[in-house]
């Protein structure tokens, strides 16, 4: 693992003017659209509350609903597989694919397959995965990571995309211009071949209904519909938190998701399938239920609601930190505010411990989240865990931050010590003050003076002024 943190990765992307421009433009547009279509629904707040409550109560009895889902899927002709972690899930998918003697699969946008790093595992087994979502395809061709939950290639411009297509699409890419219609036409022709010649498809799932065994995929391009209907075999991978108890629950989520995600009243394609049907669609259907750390999140009463997330990406689109630092700074398929809480919980704080700090706690995410996840609260909770784990080591105890916090907390609990330290501070700052402000401070406060002056301590604190006033009365 490299030593890169959110801070160091952001430092790089902050200087990338193309990226800054792309993200600013995209998020500003989408913010306006989502704000309009959520405001037009008189019961939007009620829908949010309903969504939150359905998720909460479902998670409270998750085991029951998952078993019900397994029964329904099996009854409808599908097969359910349980995967404890990413390795198990990869092994299941590779095994199922190999059983059909194929050397390629088509994929419909699925963050869960990115989470378990399925593509490298497939490639390792001699199976070539083709992403069919336009943006995912671009990211795959560029051998990059996605930079936005729903718009994974948000960081790319069309010249870069044209070059990728020319390079990798064979005859479809020859002499291609960078006009968006030409680019999408080429992608369409290229993908059409893949849809027709590939026998195994891999998908994620937005929802799965326990009572009927139906699985739901919501998308915009129609590539999903192709993947879900044309091949002989369909393998869907979903996190265990995606289950909904009743068919009726879809009413709430199929309103919440498109409006919060893309600012559309209804997304262009909603595919719902239940097991297998002779003579129509895939002949074989497998559903992989993935835990991979989710049951651990469920056990934590504060961060549990992380699992409410329906991956709409609205929190990214309103986040001032995401807008400037960009998706790659999060080094994860989950970016932005939700990424800052999900990734450390899935990957562990050792690997992603800088993410809970990637927020000014402004609360814009919590304000708009369609299922009302209190992301700032969870960020602070995770910071607590980072501090706790560091405190367990001697080095962590001696760290500048821990010592400063200890000193501050003693001072704040001791009046006289506080007054004395203010006096000492006034004396000490004489060296650093120029024209009433401090333009430079030593590390770790040098981060502040990178771009901001610090005010000098005034000669008299408020409490001294008050005392003087009381004495003079």
């Amino acid at each position: 693992m490299s030593n890169a943190t959110f801070t160091s990765r952001a430092a790089k992307s902050l200087r990338n003017s193309q990226l800054r421009r792309n993200i600013n433009k995209a998020t500003t547009t989408i913010r306006g659209k989502t704000a309009r279509v959520t405001a037009e629904l008189p019961d939007w707040e009620a829908l949010r509350l309903a969504g939150r409550e359905i998720k909460r109560s479902t998670l409270a009895e998750l085991d029951k609903h998952l078993i019900a889902l397994e029964e329904s899927v099996t009854r409808a002709g599908g097969t359910v597989h349980w995967a404890r972690d990413a390795a198990e899930a990869r092994e299941i998918v590779v095994r199922l694919t190999k059983a059909h003697n194929t050397d390629q699969v088509i994929k419909i946008k699925s963050m869960t397959t990115d989470e378990i790093e399925l593509n490298p595992a497939l490639e390792g087994a001699g199976i070539r995965p083709y992403e069919t979502d336009l943006a995912d395809m671009i990211v795959q061709m560029g051998r990059e990571k996605p930079s936005h939950l729903l718009v994974p290639a948000i960081h790319k411009n069309r010249v870069e995309i044209r070059d990728l297509f020319r390079d990798q699409m064979g005859s479809h890419g020859e002499g291609l211009s960078d006009r968006p219609t030409d680019l999408t036409k080429a992608a369409r022709a290229y993908l059409r071949d893949k849809f027709l010649e590939t026998r195994v498809a891999i998908s994620g799932a937005n929802f799965a209904v326990a009572e009927t065994g139906s699985v739901v995929v919501v998308e915009s391009e129609g590539n999903g519909r192709m993947c879900l209907t044309l091949p002989d075999v369909l393998i869907s991978i979903m996190g265990i938190e995606k289950v909904l108890p009743r068919w009726q629950d879809l009413e709430v989520f199929l309103q919440l998701l498109p409006r919060a995600a893309t600012g559309e009243r209804m997304n262009p394609y909603t595919s719902i399938w239940t097991g297998t049907v002779p003579g129509d669609g895939p002949r074989e259907f497998h559903l992989v239920l993935l835990d991979n750390g989710r049951s651990k999140i469920l056990a934590d009463e504060v961060s549990r609601e992380t699992l409410h997330c329906i991956r709409c990406s609205r929190c990214l689109n309103v986040c001032p930190v995401y807008e400037r630092a960009g998706g790659h700074a999060y080094d994860s398929m989950y970016q932005g505010p939700i990424g800052a809480i999900v990734t450390p919980q899935l990957k562990g704080l050792e690997e992603a411990g800088s993410l809970p700090y990637a927020s000014s706690l402004c609360g814009a995410c919590h304000e708009v989240c369609p299922v009302k996840i209190n992301i700032p609260q969870i960020l602070v909770h995770l910071r607590g865990k980072v501090v706790e784990s560091k405190r367990e080591t001697a080095l962590g105890k001696l760290s500048g931050e821990n010592m400063a916090m200890q000193v501050a907390s003693r001072l704040f609990n001791n009046q006289q010590a506080l007054e004395w330290s203010l006096w000492a501070g006034r004396l000490g700052q004489k060296l650093l003050t120029r024209d009433g402000v401090m333009p430079w401070l030593p590390p770790p406060l040098s981060g502040w003076t990178l771009s901001r002056d610090f005010p000098a301590l005034p000669e008299q604190s408020f409490r001294d002024w008050w005392k003087q006033r009381e004495n003079g009365k």
Binding site: P320, A364, R383, S451
Partner: protein
């Protein structure tokens, strides 16, 4: 009314003029102000940095000191938000102390942010202020989201005589302070601050005000570094200024 002032650590040590202004406004309106000894910090810095047990100690201290208060007034939106939204959380999930939770829940409804106290508790829009300057107002994230103060502070500003109020574009966006965020992620924070300053400068205001000196320390620190000539002044200081005794 007998108002207990919780000054907050930043105001106490760095911005005593804000506290003095609060006292001036409240006394001018005929209220008695008391300043309970032994108060210090709301614990926000510790809590937001992940030092929850240390923050709990400050919750206990706050409850101890203000338990009997008729009302507590706080000239800081973020400290008020800390008390209102995070004290119950800390008592329940970190201290796991039912007695503390009960004491917190009994006290919280009597804790008011300064402008909120004027507009919502006292029902005022005009406090008799005079401040002949061109001013823009930054609604802090906590004022907007945690406290839901809405237009309250703006209404107070609109009733200040002589004041030329200019709307700040993109007003709901964070200034990039975020406590330790400004230090730990200094570069991202700076990018946010730059955009905030760009909007402030576009108003041609000479002063940017807010209900929170931590945002203002951040914004003002940037405006000062860039030699923009624009100052930051806490809302209380504007409201304290009168034609007879004008404040800078």
């Amino acid at each position: 009314m007998r108002v207990s002032l919780f000054i907050t650590c930043i105001n106490d040590s760095l911005y005593p003029h804000t506290g003095q202004a609060v006292v001036r406004v409240l006394e001018r309106l005929g209220h008695e102000v008391v300043f309970p000894e032994g108060q210090s910090c709301c614990g926000q810095m510790h809590h937001n940095s992940g030092y929850a047990p240390e923050a709990v100690a400050m919750v206990r201290q706050f409850v101890e000191i203000f338990r009997e208060a008729e009302v507590v007034v706080v000239p800081s939106t973020s400290c008020t938000a800390m008390i209102r939204t995070q004290y119950p959380h800390l008592a329940r999930h970190v201290a796991k102390d039912a007695a503390l939770l009960e004491a917190v829940e009994a006290l919280v409804p009597r804790v008011w942010e300064f402008s909120e106290f004027l507009t919502r508790k006292l029902g005022l829009t005009d406090v008799g202020a005079y401040y002949p300057h061109r001013v823009t107002y930054h609604s802090s994230c906590n004022s907007l989201r945690s406290l839901g103060l809405g237009d309250g502070p703006l209404t107070l500003l609109r009733h200040v005589r002589g004041l030329d109020l200019v709307e700040l574009p993109n007003n709901t966006e964070c200034c990039g302070f975020g406590g330790t965020f400004a230090v730990k992620n200094a570069e991202t924070s700076t990018a946010m601050l730059t955009d905030k300053m760009r909007h402030i400068l576009s108003t041609n205001a000479e002063i940017c005000t807010a209900g929170d000196n931590s945002c203002l320390m951040h914004i003002g620190g940037g405006l000062s570094r860039q030699r923009t000539g624009v100052r930051t002044v806490h809302l209380a200081q504007i409201l304290a200024s009168t034609a007879e005794a004008p404040l800078a």
